[in-house]
């Protein structure tokens, strides 16, 4: 629970920085990395709720279609949770591939919602760059999240450093 309470404001701050200083630049999808981390390391109801809340805030903050990103992130959480039962994201390469794959999934889910809502969906070159950047940034971000969560919640992470 503690992790969610800390990750939520960090994600909001990240969205504010992204929209203020780098509006046209593809950047790593940090909220998605939080969802990936929670689904893999702390699978539980609070993780699902965090994914939903992150998506909802993203939509509200960015003026997107309310529900579209929360739909995508809830399903990304579920996919990451199911994947983590079969794949061990123990190496940086596996984490990068997992994050990249999940970013692609998020893009597909968003595309489906936009299409279902009868809206045009674009921005595929940007999605491609964001997949690459998210994948490249994932090993570093996950290592950082490991340390951060071990710091705020030492008991839960004592036996799961990787």
């Amino acid at each position: 629970m503690k992790e969610s309470l800390f990750l939520l404001p960090i994600a909001v701050f990240y969205l504010a920085v992204e929209s203020t200083l780098f509006p046209n630049m593809p950047l790593p999808d940090v909220p998605l990395l939080f969802v990936f981390f929670m689904a893999w390391k702390r699978p539980g109801i609070e993780g699902v709720l965090l994914a939903f809340a992150l998506g909802y805030i993203d939509d509200a903050f960015n003026g997107g279609i309310i529900g579209s990103t929360s739909f995508a992130l809830a399903l990304v959480f579920l996919s990451a949770h199911l994947l983590s039962k079969r794949i061990h994201f123990s190496t940086p390469a596996a984490r990068a591939a997992g994050a990249g794959g999940l970013r692609l999934l998020k893009g597909l889910f968003l595309y489906l919602v936009l299409k279902s809502a009868g809206l045009k969906a674009g921005g595929f070159p940007r999605l491609f760059f964001e997949i690459l950047l998210t994948a490249a940034f994932a090993p570093f971000a996950i290592a950082l999240l490991n340390r951060f969560c071990a710091f705020i919640n030492p008991h839960a992470y004592k036996d799961s450093a990787n």
Binding site: V12, V17, D58, N62, G63, G67
Partner: protein, 277 residues
Amino acid sequence: MTNILKRYKIIFVSLLLALFSLHLALTNKKELVRGSLIRGLTSVAVSPIQRSILATYAAGQEIVSDYISLVGVGRENKALREELLSLNAELNRLKEEEGLSKRLKQALDYKEIAPFKTTVAGIIGFNFGEGTRVLTINKGMLDGIRKDSAVITPSGVLGRVISAGRHASLVLLATDPRSNIDVLSQRSRIKAIAEGDGKNAVTLKYVRIVDDVGIGDKIITSGISGVFPKGIVVGEVIRIEKGRDNFFKHVEIRPSVDLNSLEEVLIVTDLGDEDSK
């Protein structure tokens, strides 16, 4: 049954929240009403952060240009360089001031001749996601901004306010796919709906094959919806193709407002007697 629910609770809750989100998304695609509480809260919480980020960024740039570049410079040149730097900084500041004055004068001139009331706002954030084109401005309800207020510039239509917080508001750009503006061709007076394509262009809907619309035609607001004043330029026709249904044309227009060079916008706070036109 309880055991199954417990065992697969993550799957059930994820699917439940995904379905709930999908319901929100598909029943709310045009109204943009739901989430207004969260929008309000994020606006209150985030717009000060955005202002601080911009101020820190500007201060950082100043520090970098004024001080860090001087590290390693010999004493002999130090005074001269400092003077030069100070003059350059002053020159840059004056140029900025001049630019700002020009832009504000342009906005003010437009304000004076426009038959409706407007207020000037600065842009503090761009939110360009997949299929969304939204920006954040530094004025809100306390400045007379309301939901659905038209947002324009002296060059033309920019969009409309979709959410007004106390001190900041979200503007749905004309290029967002959810944006629909009643327009007409300035030359032939053919009416249509301008819809964003989610990138940087706008397309015209419901232009029939027989309608007289040509490349280079200026497209202006019709004033029918009561959101935009009549006669504001939306863009210029740059491409016309035959539609797939053989009944309507596919008309693409280039928006008149260049977002890259935009820093201030005008919000229409009162349409005045536009409606009676």
